[in-house]
Amino acid sequence: MSISREDIEKVAVLARIKVDDEQVSALEKDLGNILDLVDQLSAADTDSVEPMAHPLDAVQRLRPDEVTETNQREAFQAIAPATEDGLYLVPKVIE
């Protein structure tokens, strides 16, 4: 199955990855090849098969509602690209 330039551009926006025209051409070929590989799946008969999200048939454990964390803002913000007054700074958010 091939993937169109338009699809690639759309997916790149969803994934927030900037791609230029040249890259789109390369991706068209590479992603097309990957999707061809993946298309082998369509041959499998999976009519009565339950999808498997996880290798182990285990059940979620729940955690007691107890505060275990302390303030570590200084350590975390020491490795942040931009902070001020304890806030992470980003280009203006417009709703």
């Binding site: 993937i3 699809d7 690639i8 759309k10 997916v11 790149a12 926006v13 969803l14 994934a15 927030r16 990855i17 900037k18 791609v19 991706l27 590479d30 992603l31 090849n33 990957i34 999707l35 061809d36 590989l37 993946v38 298309d39 082998q40 799946l41 369509s42 041959a43 499998a44 999976t46 098969v49 339950e50 999808p51 498997m52 999200a53 996880h54 290798p55 182990l56 285990a58 979620q60 454990r61 955690r63 570590q72 350590a75 975390f76 020491a78 490795i79 942040a80 690209p81 931009a82 992470y88 980003v90 280009p91 203006k92 958010v93 417009i94």
Partner: protein, 485 residues
């Protein structure tokens, strides 16, 4: 000292013949001198290692030593190390110094082991040749003498190459589709991918959460067992970690193999495999027969679909797992973003390499509206079929054996132009991750002077049996002791 195993080094330290500080200095000196040839480390942590060695010597003096106290090793640069930069092979995390430890890291710390640094890897563990690392490709110690630079396999290529080159006796690794076993095979060392859930994933940077599993690379099965003794166990911080007793994996290494039932999946012995490779693998199986094992052919009819299912599931999970790298809270942020969208799209375009971006885009596409059922849901159903194949096989046999990789180490650059050719490197390993089973790669011969790996696959939580089978093989063969020239 550099040729000694973890078990031997542990005994040397115990006997007091050498201190950990002395041992660590020796390893560090050799590492700094030699690694220029391989580029197997991204970060060497000399200062911390010497401090850890000193603490280990004190721990020993206080009578609190474990088998690992004072023994040098390395972490794959996917495990977060408090205070030591953790890059995951990516520009995105080039300067990322986590203020926390992965659970695996913490466990080695607690055992008193001495971490010499962080090993190179494919970016975000996506690759089978270690050529996608932002910090440069790793060169396989094997084949160098012939003047050719070959890949060590991937994604744990740095760990495998470092162990093969005797820079460290052991290194941690991770395996999502073959990333422990294939590099172990290509570098002539022994690697173990445990059962999904056996080793905590907390602090191990995620690629594909339902497939990722931390594991071990060392030269011998015995050393792998010593590593797993430290790494395995329940972790309340990982919801997918399994609360199940951890045996002493060294305790059963010497069990005889008489009566062991070996299955050879016929789908793994086809023309994808060169006759020379097949011969080595079949010879290894004959060794097992000599040790009293019986061999029969089994079938994994859906194994051929594993690559296709994997290249939907792994990229889909990765596409979400890697969304957190957005330039807001840590890691790379592009220069002078003009608005929010620009910050996201350039940060991610500049911070991720080509293969990572390809997989994010494939995963995004597979999950997007209109394709979910055809790709993601279908892949999950095929995943179930693959798991059932293994379940059926394990009704008949104790372990499965196959080649680890279709060919020995290839020359750098040979497969970088075509992602799909590269993906086929994992044709024999990928199904095991989809099923969540444990598997090892054990050195089993050479083709054209390059190592060949034998893959041994076990049922869930059969790590002790795999290690036992590998150890017994290593008592009667010396492939794992061969040293690259």
């Amino acid at each position: 000292m550099h040729n000694k195993s973890v078990a031997e080094l542990s005994r040397e330290l115990e006997s007091g013949k050498i201190s950990s500080v002395e041992l660590t200095r020796q390893f560090l000196d050799r590492l700094k001198q030699e690694d220029g040839k391989y580029n197997s480390f991204i970060t060497i942590t000399e200062e911390q290692a010497l401090a850890e060695a000193k603490a280990a010597d004190e721990m020993r003096a206080a009578g609190k030593a474990t088998a690992w106290t004072g023994v040098p090793f390395a972490h794959k640069d996917i495990f977060c190390t408090n205070g030591v930069r953790t890059t995951c092979g990516s520009k995105m995390l080039e300067n990322f110094v986590p203020p926390y430890d992965a659970t695996v890291t913490a466990r080695f710390r607690q055992a008193g082991a001495v971490c010499l640094g962080k090993t190179n890897m494919d970016e975000f563990a996506m690759g089978s040749s270690n050529e996608s690392s932002y910090f440069g490709a790793v060169t396989n110690p094997w084949g160098l003498s012939s003047g050719q630079k070959r890949v060590p396999g991937g994604s744990s290529g740095g760990s495998a190459a470092a162990v093969a080159a005797r820079l460290v006796p052991a290194a941690t690794a991770t395996d999502t589709g073959g990333s422990i076993r294939q590099p172990a095979a290509l570098c002539g060392v022994t690697g173990l991918k445990p059962t999904y859930g056996r080793v905590s994933r907390y602090g191990m940077i995620a690629f594909a959460s339902s497939l990722d599993q931390g594991g071990t690379i060392a030269r011998s099965a015995e050393d792998n067992a010593l590593m797993l003794n430290v790494m395995a166990g329940f972790d309340p911080k990982d919801s997918t970690s399994i609360d199940r007793e951890v045996p002493d994996y060294t305790a059963t290494l010497n069990e005889p193999l008489k009566g062991l039932k070996i299955g050879l999946p016929k789908e793994y012995f086809t023309d994808q495999l060169s006759p020379a490779m097949e011969e080595q693998v079949r010879n290894a199986v004959k060794e097992y027969e000599k040790l009293g094992a019986t061999v029969k052919e089994v079938s994994l009819p859906n194994a051929k679909l594993a690559i296709a299912a994997y290249y939907v599931i792994a990229p889909a999970e990765a596409s979400a797992n890697l969304s957190r790298f957005d330039g807001v809270r840590y890691g790379y942020r592009c220069e002078d973003p003009k608005d929010l969208m620009d910050m996201y799209t350039r940060t991610r375009a500049e911070g991720f390499g080509a293969e990572v971006k390809r997989r994010i885009l494939v995963g995004t596409y597979a999950l997007s509206h209109g394709y979910y059922d055809a790709y993601y849901l279908k892949a999950q159903k095929v995943r179930r079929l693959i798991q059932q194949d293994f379940a059926n096989a394990f009704k008949e046999v104790d372990v499965l054996m196959s080649p680890t990789s279709p060919s020995p180490a290839f020359i750098q650059g040979e497969k970088t132009n075509d992602p799909v050719t590269m993906y086929l490197e994992d044709i024999f390993t990928i199904a095991i991750n989809l099923a969540g089973l444990p598997a090892m790669s054990v050195p089993a011969g050479f083709v054209d002077g390059l190592p060949v790996g034998l893959q041994i696959i076990g049922d869930y939580f059969a790590e002790a049996r795999l290690l036992n089978a590998a150890h017994q093989f290593q008592q009667v063969t010396d492939w794992h002791q061969r040293e690259p020239k």
